[in-house]
Symmetry: C2
Subunit: 423 residues, 2 copies
């Protein structure tokens, strides 16, 4: 029996911007980027602070906005009324001066919006080691807060556009679901997300910037419990180049403005979790497909592992392999590199459970290895690999664990882009 | 005070072939490689089996020659009289058939040399998933054993040449030392090494093929105790592309033919260890400099770490970063990527001890970061980086641990080479 794709049991997602109730946003070109593109964005709530959950980079050189957001979320007990987004400057490795810059900017935003500074968080992306032009940004921040924010879908799309650096396009995703209102009647709820990041992408417990918004109602602790396993299965399974950024941040904000009752019961929580996961998975895949220099999304799906974490580690090892990535770029069904990459997978430094005689590998639906090399139409498979997505399927035959990971091919363009990216 | 290079306290090494007493070798083009280049090599001892120590790949898809060598070394209690080397075919992921192929070949060699098969080991490198042409190889193996082996330096150079696949040149290194003879008089001893491997290079507990030969005398257990920490400091600190091969093997053979007394005392053991480490370090650096598509050797030296393993992990994380590698290729002093890569270092899944305020970074002797970004002559540093070796120096300021790692820049040529490498 041939290895079929893993069934993905998640609700449908549209790759468009849809602003959930309770939020408004705005973006301007404020002068951080020399290109004159959008580089300053603000998201604000319209009816009091949203409940928030967040995960941040594990990089020990955490950026100033990451450190500020962690501190504010702790002080506010997970309440957020505004997000300040800057692009073109990461504000990372900028010492205490960078922290003061970041604090001054969110203080300016809080003053303009009339909220407490601890209800703000910040996300930032761009060059490491340069400082934000604080004085240049004060006026556009005040202008955005005073009259530049809108609850339109276009405003959310603009925010996604503002977050871009080397992204060739904005990443947007939205899902909808019904949750019970206080009277038990079904209440439409929206889950939307925007994300950026196609280089220095190898998230660990978090990822490059991702902002998930919903008008569902939930306590911060409920959101955090919901978010962590989703990030494990989606963004933590994304890799472009094996480098974990200093600025990785994923934030989930719930405004509660839909009218749905606060998440409490298992059914509502499960429905919201599935919608958030569907949006997160879509955004992670959009990021992989747009990886720097990439021409092909590589999805690796693993089944038959000892457990799900082992399956995920194996899948990630395959999509992270430079040699697998280069082979896919050359449309070369070089399954030996896939087997070697699988054999290298480690979970917290320990090897995964994998035995060559039980291992099966398929590429784009063609079985190529089943405990031993299989005969297959090499030219025909190379033609199948010339597609927008290449699916690598592995089965380990040792248990019921499964998982997937998302990456992209390695092209000359990746090298050119990253040799030239201004330092 | 500027960050100076780490002092490396090891004896001098010459990058030439010098056959230690007690060994002979020969190589031929036997037809494995379609190019018609050397692809079959034999090393044999001349005065009874040598003592052996070895480390092998941690890849779970270990190649047939790795599994055979492990088994033979266990049965022979670390004695080796012959090494069979094949290139052009890795004999990996070839199931039980590949194991039978490998056993048949070393049995043919043992018969031709008149030794027990368990005194043989095998190393192999090349494409994964293809089988060795056993019947084609029987005649050249017999011919080599019958009259094709020589104890000349040229024969050792030929063996290094035979091991090459994508290597642009052979890797050779030799050091000499005096050890006491039985009567206490100083006895000249040779330590030589050959190695191959410039792609699928990210050794873990071992590396691509490395053969270390000495005419010193030592028990296998003494050699193994000597070899493991050396591999930790040299080949395990080498990375070209982050992919750990299925065939990684390092073997240290001591013929005892120099006339030096068996290694027992601390002084002689230390002298031999230092010579072996000097040879291993030289070979690892030669491999990094010849990395697929590389134009520059990147050496990262870390001091001030909590301990040596943390320093080594950090150094390896820097030279393994795709973004650091691409920046060096573009001669771009983008130290933010170095800081980010250092912040990502993990030891068995746990973060290293690193604090941004204490971190110092220098590139090619120019200080660029010391708890905060430093002003420096960017164009001048870019010109310094246009060299055969780029030294990245980090000091963590938290302890006395130090270590280094070896890598290379990431070029368009790496991608072209690995997109086109025949599968």
């Amino acid at each position: 029996v041939s290895l079929a794709p893993l069934p993905i049991d998640l609700p449908p997602v549209a790759e468009v911007a849809r602003m959930p109730a309770g939020f408004r946003a705005g973006s301007v070109a404020a002068g951080i980027k020399a290109s004159g593109r959008l580089d300053l964005g603000v998201l604000a709530t319209t009816a009091g602070p949203a409940s928030a959950a967040a995960v941040f980079t594990t990089n020990l050189i955490a950026a100033a906005p990451v450190r500020l957001s962690r501190a504010h979320l702790a002080r506010s007990s997970g309440r957020v009324a505004a997000v300040l987004s800057t692009s073109g400057c990461a504000n990372a490795a900028t010492s205490a001066e960078g922290e003061r810059d970041q604090a001054a900017l969110v203080a300016a935003l809080a003053a303009a919006l009339g909220i407490e500074p601890e209800l703000t968080i910040a996300i930032s992306t761009g060059l490491i080691g340069t400082r934000l032009p604080v004085d240049v940004l004060r006026r556009p921040i005040a202008a955005l807060a005073a009259g530049g924010l809108s609850d339109s879908n276009e405003a959310l799309a603009g925010l996604a556009d503002q977050m871009r650096t080397t992204d060739s396009r904005a990443k947007l995703a939205t899902a909808s679901l019904d949750l019970p209102a206080a009277d038990g009647a079904p209440q439409p709820v929206v889950v939307s997300g925007v994300a950026k990041g196609v280089g220095m992408i190898h998230p660990s417990m978090a990822t490059m910037l991702g902002l998930l918004l919903t008008d569902a109602a939930a306590e911060p602790a409920t959101l955090q419990a919901l978010l962590l396993p989703i990030v494990e299965r989606t963004w933590n399974q994304l890799t472009v180049d094996g480098d974990t950024s200093t600025n990785d941040t994923v934030v989930l904000l719930a405004s509660g403005a839909s009218g749905a009752a606060p998440i409490a019961g298992d059914d509502a929580g499960r429905a919201l979790r599935r919608a958030v996961e569907a949006v997160a998975r879509s955004l992670a895949r959009q990021q992989a497909a747009d990886g720097e220099g990439a021409t092909t999304l590589i999805t690796c799906q693993v089944s038959g592992a000892r457990d799900d974490p082992q399956a995920r580690a194996l899948a990630r090892s395959v999509v992270a392999s430079s040699l697998v990535k280069a082979a896919v770029h050359g449309r070369d069904p070089n399954w030996g590199r896939i087997a070697a990459a699988a054999g290298n997978a480690r979970i917290d430094g320990r090897p995964a459970e994998l035995a060559e005689p039980k291992l099966r590998i398929a590429i784009c639906g063609v079985d190529v290895f089943a405990g031993r090399p299989l005969a297959f139409d090499r030219a025909g498979l190379a033609r199948r690999m010339d597609a927008a997505e290449v699916l690598v399927r592995l089965d380990l035959g040792v248990g019921d664990g499964s998982g997937e990971a998302f990456g992209c091919d390695l092209s000359e363009a990746y090298v050119v882009e990253n040799s030239a990216y201004s330092s």
